[in-house]
């Protein structure tokens, strides 16, 4: 008996990790919040720790319009232009 495979092959993508920062000192930190309850507050608290401990500058917050969809490519590109590193996470 010959069966078709019900799965599909994924697209070929060349994802690579960004190079690690040598140091966090004085870097600009971005915050990407997903719009859920407490997300912005929680992430700002975390960003403030980087500010205190590493002298980071906190960039204006970036938001997703849809908590359950991937961040739009233009949002990620804008973030990448303005910050050295980014924190994100779920609210609730």
């Amino acid at each position: 008996m010959q069966l078709y495979d019900p799965t599909v092959a994924g697209p070929e993508r060349n994802f690579v990790r960004a190079a690690a920062l040598d140091s966090l000192e004085g870097k600009t930190i971005g915050v990407l919040e997903n719009g859920k309850l407490n997300a912005a507050d929680m992430l700002h608290e975390i960003a403030a720790l980087f500010e205190q401990r590493n002298g980071c500058t906190i960039a204006p917050i970036f938001s997703k319009n849809n908590a359950s969809a991937p961040a739009p490519g233009e949002t990620l590109q804008a973030v990448a232009r303005e910050v050295d590193f980014l924190i994100t996470g779920l609210g609730d």
């Binding site: 008996m1 069966l3 078709y4 019900p6």
Partner: protein, 359 residues
């Protein structure tokens, strides 16, 4: 992708062994599947006019694509007859609309399942059930069309429980959640007529639905009494949000409502007006969000029926899909809440088996 390019597996010519093989490959929803024999898949494909490599849906994060061929393989596995296949195809085309957000609604802790509501003459053509035990077992078309959608999510889009499907508690509808709108003795225009598809066309509407909530009312003899109990279910603290709703009126409840001449629109407006909670009440359970209140009440409100100091379910009467379905006997209607507090999935519809205004 030509059919020759599709991956195949040679298994021994033993049906039970083939079923076990499908389990071993991780291709099932936990229940046995029909092994996707090449000939059966090719018979399924005869019911779709487009090439097998036509992409029906794409996953926004992974880039995985569901082709007509992949859908057919999974439809065979679900137990679909070939004549059911156009419904599966149309359902996934509807789910592929960005507003539906099938990735989010499948992956979310919320545990929703895509509810398919089929409306129009195709229901009788393929033998769907719009009557007794509407949401229950017993009808091959209802059961297998819904199941095919789940198998596509599992096998094609890899929405694997525990990995990319993070539902906290899940939902029985994740096995299959497909119903037909009852036309017999229905005093209202059918859903497909409201959707303005050409005469004779059938449609499938997809809705990221939470759990099924039975609304029992055998004592109500007026539209207000029957609808009051449904509105109360819609406004329960556990599910009230700005999201959309599906309400399936039982024929018995429909007789009470329509015997006094109430239109579908009047029912939607009544339900929207009464499916609400006070701000204080929402605060008492920790679910009041000023942002949601402002969205519903700002700039004069999203509907003239929005009442100051109250949170309504949804943004307007248009957010409540009301149809009739089920058996003649019993004061049992149901309400199905949408997934998501934030209107992250909006119901979509597509015509079945036809292309309207296509290139």
């Amino acid at each position: 992708m030509s059919l020759n390019a599709a991956r195949t597996h040679e298994v021994e010519d033993d049906l039970l062994a083939a079923i076990d093989y499908c389990y071993e490959q991780g291709w099932t929803d936990g229940l046995p599947v029909v092994p996707p024999d090449v000939k059966r898949v090719e018979e399924m494909l005869l019911y779709e006019g487009r090439p097998a490599e036509t992409v029906l849906a794409s996953h926004p994060a992974t880039g995985l694509e569901c082709t007509v061929h992949a859908a057919a393989v999974n439809a065979v596995m679900a137990g679909c007859k070939p004549e059911f296949f156009p419904v599966v195809v149309a359902a996934f085309e509807a789910m592929n609309e960005p507003g539906f957000n099938f990735h989010g609604s499948t992956a979310s802790t919320g545990g929703s399942a895509p509810l398919l509501v089929v409306s129009g003459p195709m229901i009788d053509d393929i033998g769907m059930n719009a009557d007794v035990n509407l949401f229950g077992p017993g009808n091959r078309a209802n059961a297998t069309i819904g199941r095919a959608v789940r198998l596509i999510l599992l096998n094609v889009f890899r929405m694997t429980p525990g990995l990319s499907d993070k539902s906290t508690q899940g939902n029985p509808g994740k096995y299959s959640f497909c119903i037909a709108e009852r036309a017999r003795d229905n005093p209202w225009p059918l859903l497909v007529e409201d959707q303005d598809y050409p005469e004779g066309v059938s449609s499938v509407t997809v809705f990221a639905g939470g759990g099924f909530c039975n609304v029992e009312n055998h004592g109500g003899n007026t539209p207000e009494q029957v609808l009051g109990s449904i509105a109360d279910a819609m406004a329960n603290y556990g599910s009230i949000t700005l999201g959309q709703s599906v309400v399936v009126l039982s024929p018995e409840h429909m007789r009470v409502v329509a015997s006094t001449g109430w239109s579908k629109r009047q029912v939607q407006e009544y339900l929207f007006s009464h499916a609400c909670r006070t701000v204080e009440g929402m605060r008492s359970v920790g679910k009041f969000r000023q942002r949601d209140y402002d969205k519903q009440h700002g700039d004069g409100g999203t509907s003239p029926l929005v009442e100051t100091g109250k949170m309504h379910r949804g943004l307007s009467p248009d957010d409540i899909l009301v149809i009739m379905g089920g058996g003649d006997a019993g004061g049992h209607s149901c309400f199905i809440p949408s997934w998501s507090r934030e209107r992250l999935s909006i119901m979509q519809s597509k015509p079945i088996g036809v292309c309207i205004d296509c290139d």
